[in-house]
Amino acid sequence: MMENLSPNQRAWRRFKQNRPAVISMSFLAALCLLVLIWPLFSKPALAKLLPVGMTHSPVELTDQPFAKPDMTYWMGTDVNGRDLLSRIMHGARISIMVGIVGALVSLIIGVLWGAIAGYLGGWWDGSMMRFVDILYALPSIVFVIVLITTLEELVKGWFTNAFGADFAQYSRMIFLFVGIGAVSWLTMARIVRGQVLSLKNRQFVDASRSLGAGPGRILFRHILPNVLGIIIVYITLTVPSVILYESFLSYLGLGIQPPFASWGSLIAEGAAQLNPVRINWWLIVFPAITLVSTLMALNFFGDGLRDAFDPRG
């Protein structure tokens, strides 16, 4: 029964037995692929081959405001007559991009901070982790809102000077990346620090040190690769929370600015349509379904990974 498998191979085997996680992974892969190739569909050469419902542009205004979902507009249109399906796909780009970049920012800060604190120990460890505690105590969403409202004009000015005016319209997006990333690294730092603390007294670290390796080499060559599994797990759990953050900010009108849309701003537009006279249900139902199913898939996927990498399993 004992096969000679590496820990990663064993983890992959365990992961494959977890049905929800595998389904979620396929869903996410399909979504990412679709989102990536979606803009190609509106190219004339390809558009001829495809059903008309897949070939709309997210920014093109038409004369059919509030069209119900039908064969032309699979998910209906909004008040300006823009196709909702293509807007959701376009929104997915932004939501997923914010999710991934935000998670990466949190990864870099969190791993470095936690690893250094854990490895140095003593006074450094104490003060660095107390700093994390202080940031934990701040309401992070309020922090991001304050950051956006106070610094945006300033940064926009810098961008305009440095890269020209056309680039300035992306400043809000960059703010979202950095702002959300900057508040979601705290848990990552704690987890990494805990792991490093337990690993740094292990024999292989002593062996490496006795062979003359410096702290940098020990940290990056020997300790961090051993924390990798848990980092990957945690990253997959950070992505959905960052997407949710962004959706929340966009819902408040502080996120992505029109004509760009994200899932949050699409839901906000749909929610504005809820009234007792007439409900254009597709405007809220489709974006909400997309957001919820993506967040659930990311969570199942992350949970599956965690179970798979858990050595007790």
Partner: protein
């Protein structure tokens, strides 16, 4: 339930019990909030007001509240918005139309019980003109002799001295008589006297509290209502002023004015019985107008209101008239009124709406995409190349945003230029516009009186409501001339020439459409909301027909359902 487990006989247990009880009690007390009495009328009033100071307010939502608290020499007839006696009981007009003598009511009192005197009127008008008050609406008093001189700090050529407040042509002849000398015959002067800027404000509390005088409680008021409280982003509650001279005709004891920026929110509150009237132009649920128009609680009417875009002419590239023209020429206004606003609005090429007696506006620019592209190329931006990204300022509202998205797409498609949307809340919107912190901005103007001058004089250079940076001496001269002219036909001709400068030659603005008024209220429950050209609905005239409801309607509904 935790209390039961703690009821052991040990002293520590008793102490625990006592502590738990105290904590629960505190939680209980903090959880309670005095149930406020439901107001007799609840009105969805539009955005949260910037101020309630009659001299400061510029927006409609702000003005409606200020108008309920402070009254002027005249007030609006609720039916047709013509001036009728207010604090002044009657008046004499000199044959040349340049001197007015107002006789104040002897029974006009402040809510503190003191009489409203001629000195109060003089003080209020001088204050509105005082440069230190910084009123954007000071222009309403430029028709009073030396009003403009005092407001702009000019020097009197005859004496060589700077105009002071004593030079302003308003004087108290005795405690209840005010004499007003005008610069010229001003046919709409009595209308102006009903306008908020000219309302009578409490001198003593302003001198005592300075800028914070509105915080004084009880706030001394001269109008039909007192201010009960102003909870920001919750409600403004006003209560009948029993000392008002016409108090016997005021029907409602308490009125709540709710701030809302979302038309859907307002409609939801109305439909659930939490609001009785919706009357702000920003709260029209335009997307639903096709359905709503047939319902008996939706009242549509024409009034003097124009929706337009302001350009900031002090900033490149909008300092170039060709750029402004190009942008104006490509706007598909038909699409905006058919797809977005949907209440039957008429598209506008000029600023002054139809409906002014004896005045016909000139035709402005139409839609000509070829010409627009040519003009943009001449200005140095062929196909929009090199045109900087610019912003479009607007206040939070679904409709404004939808229009902004349309404009953004039209300009991008036809001219290849990129516009960014800047949506801000009402107060920020007003202050950014007034500080000229925008490139282009959504704007609207509602007539303050039935005369083209109310639309045209605000674009005189230096007028606080100009807000484009545009200054054209020829235009200023024409408006001044018009208001000195006694022959009404000639006057209309001069105003016409001025408007040509505004909408055909220089274009500091691009008109989009004329508003259609929409009031939402149930005529079986509420009366006194008359639809008139100025969109004025004096609060003192509102009546609730079905008697006072003292409990919240939602509670009634719950009780009624089995």
């Amino acid at each position: 339930m935790a209390i039961v487990t703690a009821s052991t006989k040990q002293p520590t247990g008793i102490r625990h019990w006592a502590v738990t009880a105290c904590v629960l009690l505190v939680l209980l007390v903090t959880g309670c909030r005095k149930l406020e009495q439901r107001a007799d009328l609840i009105i969805m009033n539009g955005a949260e007001p910037e101020s309630l100071d009659p001299a400061i307010v510029t927006g409609q939502p702000d003005g409606r509240v200020a108008g309920a608290l402070f009254e002027g020499l005249t007030r609006f007839n609720p039916k047709n918005a013509k001036p009728i006696p207010g604090i002044a009981e009657r008046w004499d007009i000199s044959p040349d139309g340049q001197t007015y003598t107002f006789y104040l009511r002897t029974n006009a009192l402040w809510s503190t019980g003191e009489p409203i005197t001629a000195d109060d009127v003089v003080y209020s008008w001088r204050r509105a003109l005082d440069p230190l008050t910084a009123s954007d609406y000071a222009g309403q008093l430029y028709y009073v002799k030396n009003g403009e001189g005092f407001n702009t700090g000019k020097t009197n050529n005859a004496t060589g001295k700077v105009y002071t407040k004593e030079d302003v042509g308003v004087t108290a002849l005795d405690t209840h008589t005010v004499k007003v000398d005008l610069e010229g015959p001003t046919p709409f002067f009595l209308d102006l006297c009903a306008f908020r800027t000219l309302a009578v404000v409490p001198r003593q509390s302003i001198e005592k509290h300075g800028d914070r005088w509105l915080m004084e409680r009880p706030l001394p008021t001269s109008g039909p209502y007192n201010l009960d409280f102003w909870h920001i982003h919750d409600r403004i509650r006003i209560r009948k002023n029993p000392l008002y001279w016409d108090a016997k005709n005021i029907q409602n004891e308490i009125i709540d004015l709710l701030p809302a920026e979302s038309a859907t929110t307002a409609l939801n509150l109305y439909e659930t019985g939490e609001a009785d009237i919706i009357w702000d132009k920003n709260l029209i649920p335009s997307e639903l107008m096709d359905v709503l128009k047939g319902r008996d609680y939706v009242h549509t009417y024409d009034y003097l209101g124009t929706y337009f875009i302001r350009f900031n002419v002090t900033k490149p590239p909008f300092n170039d008239v060709r750029v402004r023209k190009a942008l104006a020429l490509v706007i598909d206004k038909e699409r905006l009124v058919n797809n977005i606003t949907k209440s039957g609005e008429k598209i506008a090429s000029c600023l002054t709406p139809p409906g002014m007696e004896g005045y016909t506006s000139p035709d402005g620019l139409g839609r000509d995409i070829e010409l627009a592209r040519k003009l943009l190329a001449e200005a140095g931006f062929p196909d929009g190349k090199g045109f900087p990204t610019f912003n479009y300022l607007f206040n939070t509202s679904e409709m404004h945003k939808q229009i902004a998205v349309e404009l953004q797409a039209m300009w991008k498609k036809e001219l290849g230029i990129t516009m960014e949307l800047r949506q801000v809340e009402w107060k920020v919107y007003l202050s950014d516009q007034s500080k000229m912190q925008f490139d282009t901005s959504r704007s609207s103007w509602i007539g303050d009186y039935v005369d083209p001058n109310t639309f045209l004089d605000m674009f005189m250079s230096g007028n606080g409501n100009n807000r484009t940076g545009w200054a054209n001496p020829q235009y200023d001269e024409l408006i001044r001339q018009a208001n000195q002219e006694r022959d009404l036909t000639k006057r209309a001709k001069i105003l016409h020439d001025a408007e040509v400068l505004l909408i055909r030659e220089d274009l500091p603005i691009a008109p989009l459409f004329f508003y259609v008024g929409v009031n939402i209220f149930d005529p079986a429950k509420v009366e006194g909301v008359h639809q008139n050209l100025l969109d004025e609905h004096p609060i003192w005239n509102l009546r609730r027909k079905d008697g006072r409801s003292t409990s919240r309607p939602s509670a009634q509904k719950l009780a009624a359902s089995p």
